[in-house]
């Protein structure tokens, strides 16, 4: 009896029917009888002393139930904590009040909240809140913020430096002395806005009788939100329930614990009404964490043959006005430790200053630190190739960690689990027909057309991660994951995962894993997530960890089901447990495959418990808490082919090819989707997106009319391919794929544009490569 293999199959998603029929429930779709609406009044000033906030007129407005200021919250709502306290960096953690009390530090910081019986009444009343301030000088640029005399944003944080972190290994000084070539380059990895299509929102309901508080919210990690909000609100964890209903994308922006949800919960507790809050897009741009924002001075040392011997750099990371939940870890642990890329670079010296500015806080955004590292390293590799007049492909090959050297510990101290970088690059070169492209390029150049190719051979740290390491690097939590597999009496299965997918498709891929492991039809399996009252502790979805860690937990739980099933099957079949085999959903006796019980029959007997072996507990379910022994390190090789219009500076992507290796693949359709989405965001950073502040701290790209989220017509068709190098430590060989596209694509595009402009002698252009920037570089090179 053959069971169709589901692991690795292109199965269409099981979450889709509700999403394509408009019957899914997102947070803002929730309505509770008696529900009120809130509007949070936000500072239009980047930096100001608060002289007076008056909510009296707002309170008197018809329909208004309550209005609060920061003073009303004092002693009742604790400051918003940072949860990644990187050690050895002299990290400063200035208080972050849920509503500003005496000072505002960025445009968008909450200063008051209004609760009313209707959306309109709340909005009207919010406009009646009077805020009188004394504006203070603001600083938005991290380098300027470090200068003597710059506005001081927090007490006790001299020069606005939140931390200074360093990773160093080998003898960098000597490597530079002995280098044949040294290249120095300043690069900017500009600020981005995550732009999940669903803005943040929440609904809070408090039961005064029981003391139970329920918050439905747009969360990537409801359990982390429960722990943190429990501390902020002073509600015991077992009285607090966080539910992440359907969540419309996150890309990191729904990881942090923001002030807003705490304020809304406070309103529910104070008024006794269920309370809803939702940001509009403009508010989202101001109040939801941004990503990236580095200025880096880099140096690379290399030998004549292309061997890269050292990288040295100083990174100035803009943290915004307050430390967001994971902010200190992003430009350090997730960034600095990846500065070797897939190469055997033996000497590294990299320091990072985390700096406060009067801007929206910066935190994880898809890739979180790794896109920045990959961008710098891949640009440097191209610069070395150019300087040595070598093919960028050759320089990469020269420096790749050889496939027989894994597990490989790079200079920054982390150990890559497995890799075959050469294989992914070879696959890529075959697909793009590289030698032919170079011929075409020569021809184009002769015709005055600027055709270029850019490579990006990347490795990323994924599957976050071993909890011991998390603790060692100051993450105030763990990174294992939970899975509960419950086989019901009728053989149907409910799976609970502590990860919290919000578009990544694990309701499907996890069902595939269970179906494969238990031989149960996929239609009989349901995957649930996102409710702290239903799910054992979990750590959520980010860092490409859901399948990599949650999937491993699920595998372990399934194996426990099989083990337990074997015991009962042996009893029912009157055989020894050692002689029971399990395959395709059947327990059978070795050598007598007809003496068998299906897993459904075994499940029923386990629940009926009429005839169990001695000491056998009824029911058939298993829980696993899986802590991975290492991170996973997906990798790949991407190539982008562009044509640059020398008259307008417009970059047209003619081809984009991504060869990724994320270990074994559960569902190729979903993996392709993850890669595509990542590419769009990485290309967006390379060509279009830029969160831009003026010198006074006003976000000038404050709406979707001004911030360029890529449109369908601005992106090319994507070509994807894969190599498969299983993770040796993951029970299913998986690695994770959620961020690869974003991490790899930005440098591929940037390298392609610079490659296209080779005849003009252009060496570097900072991203985003908008037409004015590219044109300015061309004009400068032409001496026009």
């Amino acid at each position: 009896m053959a069971v169709t293999r589901v692991f690795g199959a292109r199965i269409k998603r099981r979450e889709d029917p509700r999403l394509i029929t408009g019957t899914a429930t997102y947070t803002d779709d929730i309505v509770i009888p008696g529900m009120c609406y809130t509007v949070i009044v936000r500072s239009p000033y980047a930096h100001a002393r608060i002289k007076r906030i008056d909510v009296e007129r707002a309170r008197k407005h018809p329909g208004v139930v309550a209005a609060f200021t920061g003073k009303d919250l004092e002693g009742k709502v604790n400051p918003i904590p940072c949860a990644w306290l990187i050690p050895g960096s002299d990290l400063k953690t200035p208080p972050h009040p849920a509503l500003a009390v005496d000072r505002v530090r960025y445009v968008g910081e909450g200063v008051a909240v209004v609760v009313a019986t209707s959306r309109h009444a709340a909005a009207d009343a919010a406009s009646l809140v009077e805020v009188e301030v004394e504006p203070l000088p603001a600083v938005v640029n991290q380098e300027k913020a470090m200068q003597p005399g710059a506005p001081q944003i927090h007490d006790g944080v001299p020069n606005n430096v939140a931390f200074h972190w360093k990773v160093s290994s080998g003898d960098v000084g000597r490597a530079f002395q002995e280098a044949d070539v040294v290249i120095r380059q300043r690069m900017v990895n500009h600020r981005l806005i995550p732009n999940a299509m669903e803005p943040r929102s929440c609904v809070a309901a408090y039961n005064r009788g029981s003391g139970d508080l329920t918050i439905w919210m747009t969360s990537q990690n409801p359990h982390i939100h429960r722990v943190l909000l429990s501390g902020i609100l002073g509600i015991p964890e077992h009285r607090l329930r966080i539910i992440a209903p359907e969540v419309g994308g996150g890309f990191g922006s729904k990881i942090p614990c923001y002030a807003d949800e705490a304020v809304v919960a406070f309103c529910a507790m104070q008024t006794g009404h269920p309370v809803k809050w939702g940001e509009d897009r403009r508010e989202n741009y101001l109040a939801t964490a941004h990503g990236r924002d580095h200025i880096v001075d880099l140096e690379v040392a290399a030998k004549k043959d292309g061997t890269i011997t050292a990288i040295r750099g100083t990174c100035y990371a803009n943290l915004g006005a307050y430390l967001s939940t994971a902010a200190p870890g992003v430009p350090t642990i997730l960034h600095g430790l990846m500065m070797c890329g897939p190469y055997t670079i033996p000497n590294i010296d990299y320091e990072v200053y985390g700096i406060f500015t009067n801007t929206t806080p910066v935190d994880a955004y898809r890739g979180a630190g790794r896109p920045e590292a990959t961008y710098y390293v891949e640009r440097l590799v191209d610069m070395v190739a150019r300087k040595l007049n070598m093919d960028p492909v050759e320089v990469r090959r020269k420096n790749f960690i050889p496939k027989d050297k894994f597990p490989y510990t790079v200079a920054t101290g982390i150990t890559y689990d497995s890799g075959d970088y050469e294989a992914s690059l070879e696959t890529l070169l075959r697909i793009i027909d590289y030698p032919n492209f170079r011929k075409e390029q020569e021809k184009a150049w002769k015709e005055g057309r600027y055709l270029g190719i850019g490579f990006s051979t990347y490795v990323e740290i994924c599957g976050l991660g071993p909890s011991q390491v998390a603790g060692a690097v100051g993450f105030q939590g763990a990174l294992w994951e939970s899975a509960l597999v419950r086989v019901h009496p009728t053989g149907k299965v409910t799976v609970l995962t502590g990860a919290s997918p919000h578009g990544q498709g694990e309701e499907t891929t996890f069902a595939q894993i269970v179906s494969e492991e238990l031989g149960i039809p996929i239609e009989d399996i349901e995957v649930l997530h996102g409710d702290t009252e239903m799910i054992p502790m979990g750590w959520g979805t980010y860092g490409s960890r859901t399948t990599a860690v949650g999937g491993a937990a699920l595998f372990v739980a399934c194996r426990r089901i099989v083990e337990k099933g074997k015991k009962l099957a042996a009893h029912l079949l009157e055989a020894s447990e050692q002689d029971i085999l399990f395959e395709g959903g059947r327990f059978f006796v070795k050598g007598a495959p007809d003496r068998a019980k299906t897993i459904q029959e075994v499940a029923l007997q386990a629940y009926l418990a009429w005839n169990l072996p001695a000491g056998f507990e009824p029911a058939l379910e298993a829980t696993a808490f899986y802590d991975p022994p290492n991170f996973t390190y997906p990798f790949g090789a991407h190539a982008c082919i562009v044509e640059v219009d020398p008259e307008t500076g417009t970059v047209k992507i003619r081809r984009y090819v991504a060869v990724d290796d994320c270990g074994r693949v559960v569902n190729p359709l979903i993996v392709d989707g993850q890669v595509h989405g990542g590419l769009a965001q990485g290309i967006g950073q390379a060509l279009y997106e830029y969160a831009y502040y003026d010198d006074f701290g006003q976000l000038l790209t404050g709406s979707m009319s001004d911030y360029a989220v890529p449109k369908a017509s601005q992106l090319p068709p994507f070509e994807t391919a894969r190599t498969e190098t299983p993770s040796p430590h993951h029970p299913l060989g998986l690695k994770g794929v959620g961020e690869t596209g974003t991490i790899a694509s930005t440098p591929a595009v940037a390298n392609a544009v610079v490659d296209a402009l080779q005849p003009l002698g252009i060496h570097h252009i900072d991203i985003p490569l908008t037409p004015p920037r590219v044109l300015a570089a061309i004009r400068q090179a032409q001496g026009r």
Partner: protein, 165 residues
């Protein structure tokens, strides 16, 4: 002040008195409870709120409910008929044209408009037609595939797209 309106939504006639400033999207979501239509921005860039109004795809965040008085509206909830998914819904499902699903209802309505006007669009035409609808998850490749799937399917079955009056 409240203004009486009567609107046909997915074939059902509704009568309500609404505030003149009520946006059509809030009317659909909060008065009728049809929460399949989403709100993703406040500048009519994202298209998450796209619905059909008298056969034309409109952004319901930029239409007042009172302007929809007497109109026929089709929302995502009205795409499937008699439990049968519309070919566009089928295409999005088959081709993995959605991830978080938030932009999907508006995206499908925009696609419907395209296929009504051009039953056999090229890839470039699809990308152009969907410019008013932003998706942050898919990178659009699978959405393009989904629309092509729907186009093929509609051609094969000879089915008229719904809402095409």
């Amino acid at each position: 002040m409240r203004v009486p309106i009567s609107v046909t939504v997915n074939g059902t006639v509704y009568h309500h008195e609404v505030e003149p400033r009520l946006l059509l999207v809030y009317y659909l979501r909060e008065v009728l409870g049809l929460t399949g239509t989403h709100i993703g921005c406040d500048t009519s860039n994202c298209g998450a709120c796209t619905v059909m109004m008298n056969g034309l795809a409109v952004k319901s965040c930029t239409v007042l409910a009172v302007q929809a008085n007497g109109a026929e509206i089709l929302t995502v909830e009205g795409l499937a008929r008699d439990g049968q998914l519309h070919p566009i819904q089928e295409g999005f499902w088959e081709e993995h044209g959605l991830q978080c699903g938030y932009c999907t209802p508006g995206m499908m309505i925009a696609a419907l408009q395209l296929l009504q006007r051009n039953p056999d669009p090229s890839e470039a035409e699809i990308r152009h037609a969907l410019e008013g609808n932003l998706c942050r998850c898919t990178g659009y490749q699978h959405i393009v595939n989904a629309v092509r799937y729907a186009a093929r399917k509609m051609k094969e079955s000879g089915a008229m797209p719904v809402g095409g009056r």
